[in-house]
């Protein structure tokens, strides 16, 4: 039985749910740390997540997790209820992130069937102390506030507005009452649209009825009483008038400037119901308390379900079988005896079409967007830049690019390595950057895009770039480069930093050359059939591109015949194929065969000899030569015949057979036969793997 399945379902659920919650929480915190404020919705979310974790951890008797969650919950309960002014957001974020790390670590232990035995008391103490601190601080400020004796309702800020709220002199408050043309229908949608347009120009928008979209009764209300909007803007009255009148189906508009007091009253009136639409759906304090936890995460909830990967694999196997059995039906030998098969063929065509579509869908299920992987990097950038006192911003693009689940698992580590390297070695200190006239905030771009069957992941920084001379010097000293300088392209020079011999050198970190663990990156990416390209411009930064295949599960292969066996050669590694004459082959004293193609000499490998296949062609002029290549060289493979190109589903060799030199995996052919996939890299350079 599968290990993950055998785990107690309760525990599995606990691990799964909590990891998801923590991930969500981490994202939220990182996103809001940048804005240096915590919206009510965010506070509520943290509070809710911690509450959930506390509950489930307590139920599963993981006391250290539940007590930590409890402490964080307490902290945020206080923040939520009292809105203390003296808050060090960065510190709060640190504490919560530390807490998240601790819980994640504990859950990681559970996942590996270990005891969750970590001690969370230092964190708890830390948080409790801080809570006391802000309690004291805000007690002081509360006194001051009370002395000022302002009406309590106004003191509470209902929301912390986002970016655009510079208090300028000529901001005016307006009240607009809009009636739509009778019979235009969908008044509520139109009203919403209007508000949406207004958002670009105005701030602090409130409207009545507030729940225009959610509540269908609002249509009636708007028809009878009009749609009232209050907002502040720097625009002149005429401009606003124009803005409104551009909308279709507006019958009348009553726009007037409001006095401050009136404004406040109106605002409060509006806020007794549901309020504001901000950049993210924010819900007013009063309401959120009543309606409980489920509303405010609206944006982040998707209609997703989580499925065990094993089940998916099984589904894919079944579909593969379906394809094979379909072939068996359509090409059944018994059919040759039948006379008229028109209808049968029509039916099988339809059948095949459906099966193909089904196969596509199953494949697409395995595709996962890079979002999670990319967003994890936010944390690393944050921690690194804090530690190194560098101001680094991570710019993420193309996170929606989808890659096979199996590949994603292999990407996280290399990207993390590259980002660490970029910040550690690439990005200069803020002082140095200032001296060079660069923006004090360094940027690291993380971009993904798909091109053809490949996905490119590009990591670019605007740091110092690689020092070509020094790399060259180092590489020569270590004997990594043999060619003369004039023959080396920049790319070749930069690529030497990926070699294992290069990275073990300590002195590297003195200059901007990347060092630590680059060979690990290369190994990881090569393991999933990808390549790494390095480019750099001095003073402008370094770009590292990872080219990876979309999926590991399906490759394009060429079927070749050797004796009675069929092998698959990955199409990507085939350079060319040709018929050779007997005279083309040169034999060296050791009996090794070689062949000359356009002035270059390639070794010849007879596949039937390599794989001990009987009854294969021996005569080189009767068979066909296929030149395959990879990074480390090229080789000629001698096979009986090429049978054609086919997409094949890659399957691992059975454990019992283990690893076989020269064979990377196996697959199933259309007729249901199992067939081996050739490991080109191993044939070219057997010593390497």
């Amino acid at each position: 039985m599968d290990k993950s399945l055998s785990k107690e379902p309760m525990l599995e659920m606990f691990i799964f749910e909590n990891l998801q919650l923590l991930e969500q929480l981490e994202q939220t915190i990182l996103a809001h740390e940048k804005e240096r404020c915590l919206e009510n919705a965010v506070i509520n979310e943290i509070f809710r997540i911690m509450h959930t974790i506390k509950g489930s951890a307590a139920m599963m008797m993981y006391d250290s997790i539940s007590s930590l969650a409890h402490a964080i919950e307490d902290l945020f309960f206080y923040i939520r209820e009292f809105h203390p002014d003296e808050m060090d957001y960065s510190k709060i974020c640190d504490m919560v992130l530390d807490g998240i790390d601790f819980i994640k670590n504990e859950i990681g232990k559970l996942e590996q069937d270990q005891e969750a035995d970590g001690d969370s008391s230092p964190f708890v103490e830390n948080i409790e102390q801080y809570l006391l601190l802000i309690k004291e601080a805000s007690a002081n400020s509360n006194l001051i506030n009370e002395a000022a004796a302002r009406p309590a309702g106004l003191q509470k800020k209902f929301y912390i507005s986002t970016s655009k709220s510079p208090p300028t002199e000529n901001i005016k408050r307006y009240h607009a009452l809009i009636y739509f043309t009778p019979g235009c229908e969908m008044e509520n949608i139109r009203a919403f649209n209007l508000v949406h347009k207004l958002k670009d120009q105005a701030e602090q928008i409130d409207y009545l009825p507030a729940d225009i979209i959610e509540n269908n009764d609002s249509v009636e209300f708007i028809r009878e009483n009009g749609f009232a909007v209050i907002f502040t803007t720097h625009l002149q009255q005429e401009a606003i008038n124009e803005l409104f009148m551009k909308e279709a189906f507006i019958d009348s508009l009553d726009l007037r400037v409001m006095e401050d007091e009136e404004w406040e009253i109106e605002q409060l009136r509006a806020r007794n119901q549901i309020i504001l639409e901000d950049e993210e759906p924010t819900i007013s304090n009063n309401r959120a308390k009543e309606t409980g936890a489920n509303l405010h995460s609206g944006g982040s909830r998707q209609s997703l379900i989580n499925v065990n990967v094993d089940k998916l694999d099984r589904l894919m196997d079944m579909v593969g079988e379906l394809v094979i059995s379909e072939t068996m039906v359509a090409l059944n030998p018994d059919l040759t005896t039948a006379t008229r098969l028109d209808n049968f063929h029509k039916a099988t065509r339809q059948h095949r079409k459906i099966i193909n579509e089904l196969q596509d869908i199953v494949m697409s299920i395995r595709m996962v967007p890079l979002t999670m992987t990319f967003h994890k990097m936010n944390r690393i950038v944050r921690d690194m830049s804090k530690k190194q006192n560098k101001n680094v911003e991570l710019v993420i693009r193309g996170e929606e690019t989808e890659v096979d689940k199996k590949i994603i698992e292999h990407l996280s580590d290399p990207i993390m390595h590259l980002i660490r390297n970029a910040i550690d070695h690439g990005i200069e200190s803020p002082e140095k950057r200032a001296g060079l006239g660069k923006s004090p905030i360094a940027q690291v771009y993380l971009e993904a895009k798909s091109e053809g069957g490949d996905v490119y992941i590009i990591l670019r920084d605007d740091g110092a770039g690689l020092d070509k001379e020094k790399i060259l010097e180092r590489a020569r000293a270590r004997g990594l480069i043999q060619k003369p300088d004039s023959n080396l392209s920049d790319g070749e020079i930069f690529s030497t930093i990926l070699l294992p011999g290069f990275s073990t050198c300590d002195e590297i970190s003195e200059f901007s050359g990347r060092g630590v663990g680059m060979d690990v990156v290369l190994k990881n990416i090569e393991a999933i059939g990808g390549t790494v390209l390095v480019d750099s411009a001095p003073g402008q930064g370094t770009t590292i591109s990872l080219k990876i295949p979309l999926t590991l599960a399906i490759i394009n292969g060429m079927r070749v015949k050797v004796g009675n066996s069929i092998y698959i050669i990955p199409i990507t590694s085939i350079k060319e194929s040709f018929k050779a004459q007997r005279g083309d082959v040169i034999v060296d004293p050791n009996g090794k065969e070689m062949i000359m193609v356009r002035g270059e000499c390639y070794p010849v490998l007879r596949l039937h000899k390599k794989y001990q296949v009987k009854s294969a062609l021996e005569d080189i002029s009767k068979g066909i030569i296929v030149i395959v290549q990879n990074d480390s060289g090229s080789i000629c493979l001698f096979v009986d015949a090429l049978l054609g190109e086919q997409q094949v589903v890659v399957k691992a060799l059975p454990k019992f057979i283990g690893k076989i030199a020269g064979i990377s995996a196996c697959t199933l052919l259309g007729d249901g036969r199992a067939c081996l996939i050739i490991d080109v890299a191993n044939l070219i350079n057997p010593s390497k793997s």
């Binding site: 196997d317 094979i324 390599k610 019992f656 057979i657 030199a661 064979i663 196996c666 199992a674």
Partner: protein, 165 residues
Amino acid sequence: MSEILNEVVQQEEDTQKGKFLTFLVGKEEYGIEIKYVTEIIGGIQAITEVPEVPEYVKGIINLRGKIIPVMDVNLRFKKEARDYNDRTCIIVIDIDELSVGLIVDNVAEVISISDADIVPPPDARAGFHNRYIKGIGKIGNEVKLILDCQRLLSTENLEDLKYIN
């Protein structure tokens, strides 16, 4: 909850206990515990040869989308290879999540042998050296050799042989 589960497992084990699938390899009749057997494939389908494995590993087959290795038990016991005919069967056994097909000359039946009727094989020092035999079961006048599946599949063994080859 786990108690109930255990009970179910136990019951299942009980119904399988003492039952053996018997088959012919050469002249001898062998038995394997029924709990290891997942299915029997009648007739030999196309076997894809795999290089660099011992001779007795005939290759891999496609078992409804799952790729499993098959071994010829005749060759495994270092007997002469026999031609496959329509009585030849592949018994698929599953041990520790490892599925392997055993090519045997003929599948006979499922029989019950009580523990009391199983005697250990003679000592290796007495000149008996088939180490794949776990015991010898008596059914009336007949004798069945009970195979040790674990030993049969042990991969160390496979590796040893690889060396020799």
